[in-house]
Amino acid sequence: MLMYHTSYWRLSKIMLIVKILLIIILAPIIGGLLTGVDRIISARLQGRQGPPVLQPFYDVLKLLQKESIEVNLMHRFFIYISLIFVMFTTVIMLLGGDILLAIFALTLGSIFFVLGGYASNSPYSLIGSERELLQMMAYEPMVLIAAVSLYYTNHSFFIKNIVSHDLPAIVFLPGVFLGLIYILTIKLRKSPFDFSMSHHGHQEIVQGITTEYSGTDLAIIEITHWYESIIALTLVYVFFAAKSPMSHLLAIIACIIVYLFEILVDNCFARVKWQHALNTSWVITAVLSIVNLAILSFFM
């Protein structure tokens, strides 16, 4: 009996490790494919043919083969730490772990990324870092309120408990969900809120935080962004998934629709000033989530 028990325990441990490895490998692949689809759709919206779907992978593999110019030691170090925390967040979220822990780990990852920007003395990089901090100020309250609201309706911070209720969270929290969609634009680095760094061509601050990064380091930043896209879409997923298997399919469809919507917004709007981003996201966070929670407290 004891033998059986230990072997079972060992098997579950191995399963967990396999799951973690699968998440770490598959998440950036899916994120990269999403970016590839994004680039094709953006090109088609502009009347162009666009690059192949695998273009983001070609870019990253090319960057890995290039020389990495070292500005200083810390400059590179922060990027790798940032990647580790973002990977950690992805693993927690996709294993159904504590959403609050995931959000804090993600924030830490973003902070290290900003520190990387500050580590070089390039003025463009410094402006990019400051704008990244302002972006974090803009989206962080909404993400926290989303986690608290999910706790309020499900009495658990664990994603595996949140997605196993009879009704999906979106039924109780439509306002919070809309607020989250608004700040996801910042998290996915899409126009109109892509003022700290942008994938699109040269802009006024020469790609902000990433100005001084080249070669492998730039590839790591790109991979980190792929993980972050998956994290952002997991937040959407949590709102739609419930006990029935059909709802999980619905949640994946919702993620795809949200991503397509973000691409459309990206192509329809010009970049705004940071004041506008900060003000609107706080107002939308406050109004939508407080009204939502007030109505909810009245009925529950």
Partner: protein, 144 residues
């Protein structure tokens, strides 16, 4: 596999061009030619770029700028001189402040003549530059 062939990122610098060639360079990015099909991105940042496109001749004022841009690019890197001014100085060659073509300052790998160079010619030049880039990467690997 040589991924550098599939994603050449370009940095475009206007030396003392009349803007004719610059407009043709940008025309390559428009829906008609759409070089992003081949993974070409106009980066605007030397540290991210693989190919330095220079239009216009080099003059006394922009020599340090051109040199610095080239030095900031990560290896392997190539230089493409676009337009007749960038290849030899063109009609401005005899001006008192003009030094000549880009090859007076930087090792130019591909010359794209024309006034202004047509987008098709520029794309052709970039394709030639990619071959040079591949060669340079091979050398870089051998030297390691």
């Amino acid at each position: 596999m040589k991924f550098i062939k599939k994603s050449p990122w370009i940095l475009h610098y206007d030396g003392s061009s009349c803007n004719g060639c610059d407009i043709e360079v940008l025309a390559c990015l428009t829906p008609l030619y759409d070089v992003e099909r081949f993974g070409v991105i106009n980066t605007g940042n030397p540290k991210h770029a693989d190919i330095l496109l220079i239009t216009g001749s080099v003059n006394d004022q922009n020599i340090p700028v051109v040199k610095q841009l080239y030095e900031q690019m990560a290896n392997p890197k190539v230089v493409v001189a676009v337009g007749i001014c960038a290849t030899s100085g063109g009609i401005f060659a005899d001006c008192y402040n003009v030094v000549g073509g880009v090859n007076k300052v930087l090792p130019v790998d591909v010359y794209v003549p024309g006034c202004a160079a047509r987008p098709e010619a520029i794309i052709d030049g970039v394709v030639k530059a990619i071959a040079v880039l591949e060669e340079k990467q091979k050398q870089m690997k051998n030297n390691k």
